[in-house]
């Protein structure tokens, strides 16, 4: 009667194998490594660099234990692992020298790092160790508030200047445009002009909605951003800020930075291992500028390209970036502030291109410049920390104004990269640090040690008690609890959830609560045996009756956990997530797995006389027993 069909055992074995495979990466530890990534917007780590790194290490006589190119994420990174910290230090020094011949202007950041020792085949099935939160590994955390109203104002400003030009071009007369809280207020002298303007706005400004007001003598048109337009502006501003932050943070050489949107208008930045908050803040808060300039094609300028003679007056030579060396005029055609958008697209020949949109003022300058410099090259330069980096050099193919395309991109990827770089020149909206945390590495290590030790000791105490108090059934309960821990760790690792100190506390607390299910079951079985039920039947009854109570008692915990997860932030969320997950795995392990084990031990014995569930004491004296006895005593209580 207490037998499982084979598929249930198969399920348990599958769960066990899954648990072991995905939990085990957490015990391999980490080996010292060196990572190489580009700091230049126009340089990317690739297979060629990988070969170069490998060769330099070989030449330097430093043995490495594996080298890989990680192209996932914003900035491709090469990681090389070593046997010990000494080799890591030597390799870091060697690579820093080899890859950056000019120390004052490095192209690559070479940083020490730690890599998981998990074997490759495990990593192949995405079995990776849990990601440790900052409170466990040390580092800095920033929460930034993005001023999205500022982004909206900027968009409205741009729309205003565009509108002025278009109204003038179409010869629509108006009596003034004013920017207010509600949007753009345009006054007219007659209704006809207003209707024309309205058609124009609806035709060419897709993110604006218009509203008519005023009298027939003084008609007014109010143009405001539509809801969709607002959302788009806010989304783009956040995305652009995140992209810009990514580019800047790459320069810090942080191994696994977290840059995420939080809520509607906030960005979280977590930099593990970074200890210098001041420097991190400077880099994050830095302003970069983008400038478009003409290439100096005069004979003097061309001669200076090679670097043999100095560039002529009013020009300067750039050596970093794409299409370099190149000599550019110092006059700026347009700057990053005037750039309104850059998107990867396709030109009329279905080639990859980048479409660029400038504001009205820059468009007018552009029109003049392109008319005068047809078929001549121009360049876009990104300035950061006073150093210029050429993003692209392109030939002017025709006369154009505020909207144009940069064509001839080798691939959609290249077009995407350039669009991103053009946009990333500056932050779309100003940001302010509203929360900042620095956790020293020694504190992180102390936290993880204390948390893990407390969990281990508590777990051990429960196992010993259960085994003593419930004998074989106690051992089964302990095994089920172990399975619960295994599954919990495995699922957390699989989800690549961030483990924090409250998360560890939640694991410990959840284990303490999960044993409740087994205590309920064991007490019920004892109760049945006390009543005199036959052991096999007692086991069945015990599990069946306890199950309803177990489900019931977990519901309230789940309610609390889910609300905490939804409304909480930071540590509360981590705690709630692990807690809810632990409750779910505990139902599986405490009921399903422990029953499987009990069935395996006792289920096949036909004439089972006694089970080992600790001593069962029966009230021999008269009085009201807690539970009214029912039926005769067939099963013998055991004293083992």
């Amino acid at each position: 009667m207490n037998r499982y069909p084979p598929w249930k055992y198969v399920l348990i074995v599958v769960a066990l194998v899954f648990g072991i495979l995905y939990a085990v990466p957490n015990v391999f530890g980490e080996s010292p490594a060196v990572q190489v990534a580009s700091v230049k917007a126009t340089v990317r780590a690739d297979a060629a660099l990988l070969a170069r790194v490998e060769k330099s290490l070989q030449a330097g006589g430093i043995a490495q234990q594996g080298i890989s190119l990680d192209t996932i994420g914003q900035n491709p990174t090469i990681r090389v692992r070593f046997a010990d910290a000494a080799a890591q230090a030597r390799a870091g020094e060697l690579l820093g020298r080899e890859l950056n011949p000019d120390a004052s202007d490095p192209s690559y950041i070479v940083a020490p790092n730690l890599l998981s020792r998990t074997p490759a085949w495990l990593q192949g099935i995405h079995a990776l160790p849990m990601y440790l939160g900052l409170d466990l590994r040390g580092g800095v955390h920033f929460l930034m508030q993005v001023d999205l109203d500022e982004a909206l104002t900027k968009r409205l400003q741009a729309a205003e200047s565009d509108l002025r030009t278009q109204l003038r071009d179409k010869d629509v007369r108006h009596a003034g445009i004013r920017r207010g809280a509600g949007g753009l207020e345009i006054r007219f002298r007659d209704l006809e002009s207003r209707n024309k303007a309205k058609d124009l706005i609806l035709d060419s400004f897709h993110d604006l909605v218009v509203q008519e007001s005023g009298s027939a003598d003084e008609p007014i048109l109010t143009a405001a951003l539509s809801d969709a337009g607002r959302i788009a502006v806010r989304d783009n501003a956040l995305k652009q800020n995140i992209t810009t932050l990514h580019n800047r943070i790459n320069e810090l050489g942080v191994s696994e930075p977290v840059i995420q949107q939080q809520g509607d208008d906030r960005i979280v930045v977590e930099l593990p291992g970074v200890q210098d908050t001041a420097r991190a803040k400077n880099i994050i808060g830095r302003t970069a500028t983008l400038e478009a300039r003409l290439v100096d094609v005069s004979p003097d300028g061309m001669a200076a390209t090679g670097g043999a003679v100095p560039p002529p007056f009013g020009s300067e030579r750039f050596t970093v970036g794409r299409g370099v060396p190149v000599v550019l005029k110092k006059d700026v055609i347009f700057s990053g502030q005037q750039l309104q958008g850059a998107q990867a697209t396709f030109d009329d020949k279905q080639q990859s291109a980048v479409s660029v949109e400038l504001n009205d003022a820059a468009g007018r300058v552009m029109l003049q410049v392109t008319r005068e410099n047809l078929k001549k090259p121009m360049a876009v330069v990104l300035f950061e920390r006073g150093r210029g980096e050429v993003l692209t050099v392109a030939t002017i193919q025709g006369e154009f104004g505020s909207r144009f395309q940069i064509t001839g991109m080798p691939s959609p990827q290249a077009a995407n990269d350039l669009a991103l770089l053009l946009r990333a020149g500056a932050l779309a909206a100003p940001m302010q640090i509203i929360e900042e945390r620095l956790i020293g590495p020694s504190l992180g290590a102390a936290n993880i040690e204390a948390g893990v030790r407390a969990t281990e000791m508590g777990f051990a105490a429960i196992v010993v008690f259960m085994a003593l108090y419930y004998a074989v059934f106690g051992v089964v309960s302990a095994l089920a609890l172990g399975m619960n821990l295994l599954l919990l760790v495995a699922i957390l690792s699989l989800l690549q959830a961030t483990l924090t100190l409250p998360g560890i506390a939640a694991i410990a607390f959840t284990l303490g609560m999960a044993i409740d299910a087994n205590v309920l079951i064991n007490e019920r079985i004892r109760e049945e045996l006390r009543k005199g039920t036959a052991p096999q039947q007692a086991i069945q009854q015990g599990y069946e009756r306890a199950f309803a109570t177990i489900l019931d008692s977990n519901v309230t915990t789940l309610i609390a956990g889910v609300f905490l997860f939804m409304l909480g932030s930071g540590p509360v969320r981590g705690f709630a997530f692990v807690h809810v997950l632990g409750i779910l795995t505990s139902i599986f392990s405490a009921v399903f797995v422990s029953r499987g084990l009990v069935n395996l031990i006792y289920g096949s014995r036909r004439r089972l006389q006694k089970v080992s569930i600790g001593q069962i004491w029966r009230p021999a004296t008269a009085g009201t027993p807690p539970v009214p006895p029912a039926g005769g005593a067939r099963g013998k209580p055991s004293g083992a």
């Binding site: 210098d276 000791m457 100190l501 506390a505 303490g512 309230t556 932030s569 540590p571 705690f575 709630a576």
Partner: protein, 354 residues
């Protein structure tokens, strides 16, 4: 081994009145302290800066206070954290001072004089570090920082060190406090709704009151002893709320079952027998959970201290309130067999069978 050899039903309800009076008094005391003294809220809720500084030997806390008072306006707190060598400094939010800068200034002032137990080289390093932090941003290059970092590594464990800095803007703080209140409300309403569906209304009212009593007592303890109330503590309080509701659910389940099986017993007898039948399980499971929280309290380090403390207290109050408050309230509310045994149809049929 069997701990509980219960010969007869324990008359828990006989003492209900005494315990309820005690509960009411402690409850009112807790509410009084909360109202008068208030909670010692962490900077997560109030905004401000916290620094944890690790010294080599126990420093003179009063001297640290004096140094900080000279640097920072307003009411700063200096306490030890876990060990006598670890100092925790809380400073109020200063509008206008950029985040983190305050911490840098205070740390520079604290390390200006060599602390006892520091290696002699430390003074020079601290001075260089403080100078570096004041440099304009263009000069703070990785190359310039490299020798400092190298020296820091070689001196690791010999100097005073900055373990942790947290800065929370006042706006974030008030938001967190609001979200915390909202979470508490949502959890209470969610559990009340569940209990109302699951049980008859006298029971759900009794359970909710009993468990809010636990929450107020735990939070009240934090007010009475001026323990720091932080976000993790809030999480612990809410987890405890759910956990002790479980306990009431299990006891009420048994009460319902015993109303069915013990047809001649009085209401008080039924409640007593239900509690007696579950008391062994109650003590063992809570013992197991307490084992975990107490090990956390003892070995989990200072960072988990108040979190584990809130859990431990919450579990203890939870057991007490499920037995003496929830069950007793249900009794005072006049719960009857008819409220619970609404006899489903099949059961009525079996009753009518001869």
């Amino acid at each position: 081994m069997e701990f509980f050899r219960i010969h007869r039903t324990i008359p828990f309800m006989r003492y209900a009145l005494v315990f309820n009076v005690i509960s009411l008094v402690t409850f009112l005391t807790a509410v009084g302290f909360l109202g008068v003294r208030g909670l010692n809220l962490s900077i997560e809720f109030t905004g401000g800066t916290v620094m944890e500084v690790g010294y080599r030997q126990a420093p003179d806390v009063d001297a640290i206070r004096a140094t900080i008072a000279a640097k920072v306006a307003g009411d700063s707190q200096v306490t030890t954290f876990g060990k006598a060598e670890d100092i925790l400094i809380r400073m109020p939010a200063h509008p206008g001072v950029p985040s983190g800068q305050l911490a840098d200034q205070v740390y520079a002032a604290l390390t200006a004089v060599p602390a006892p137990g520091e290696a002699p080289e430390c003074a020079a390093w601290h001075a260089a570090d403080a100078r570096f932090k004041l440099l304009p941003q263009d000069e703070r290059t990785p190359e310039a920082a490299a020798p400092l970092l190298a020296q820091q590594k070689s001196l690791a464990g010999q100097c005073t060190e900055l373990r942790r800095v947290e800065f929370v803007g006042p706006q974030v703080g008030s938001e967190l406090a609001q979200d915390g209140g909202l979470a508490l409300l949502a959890v209470v309403l969610g559990i009340a709704a569940y209990l109302a569906v699951r049980f008859e209304k006298k029971f759900s009212a009794a359970a909710i009151i009993a468990n809010l009593h636990d929450v107020v007592l735990v939070v009240g303890m934090f007010a009475i002893f001026h323990w720091e109330f932080s976000l993790p503590v809030l999480a612990a309080v809410l987890a405890v709320l759910a956990y002790s509701v479980n306990e009431s659910v299990i006891i009420f389940d048994r009460v319902r079952e015993h109303f069915r099986t013990m047809r001649k017993a009085t209401v008080v007898e039924v409640i007593d027998s239900a509690i007696t039948a579950t008391i062994s399980r109650t003590i063992i499971t809570h013992g197991a959970t307490l084992t975990m929280t107490v090990t956390m309290l003892l070995f989990g380090g200072p960072a988990l201290h108040y979190f584990a403390l809130a859990l431990t207290l919450g579990i203890l109050f939870g057991v007490y309130s499920s037995v003496f408050v929830a069950a007793a309230l249900a009794m005072w509310f006049g719960v009857q067999r008819a409220d619970l045994v609404r006899a489903p149809k099949e059961e009525r049929a079996t009753i009518q069978m001869p």
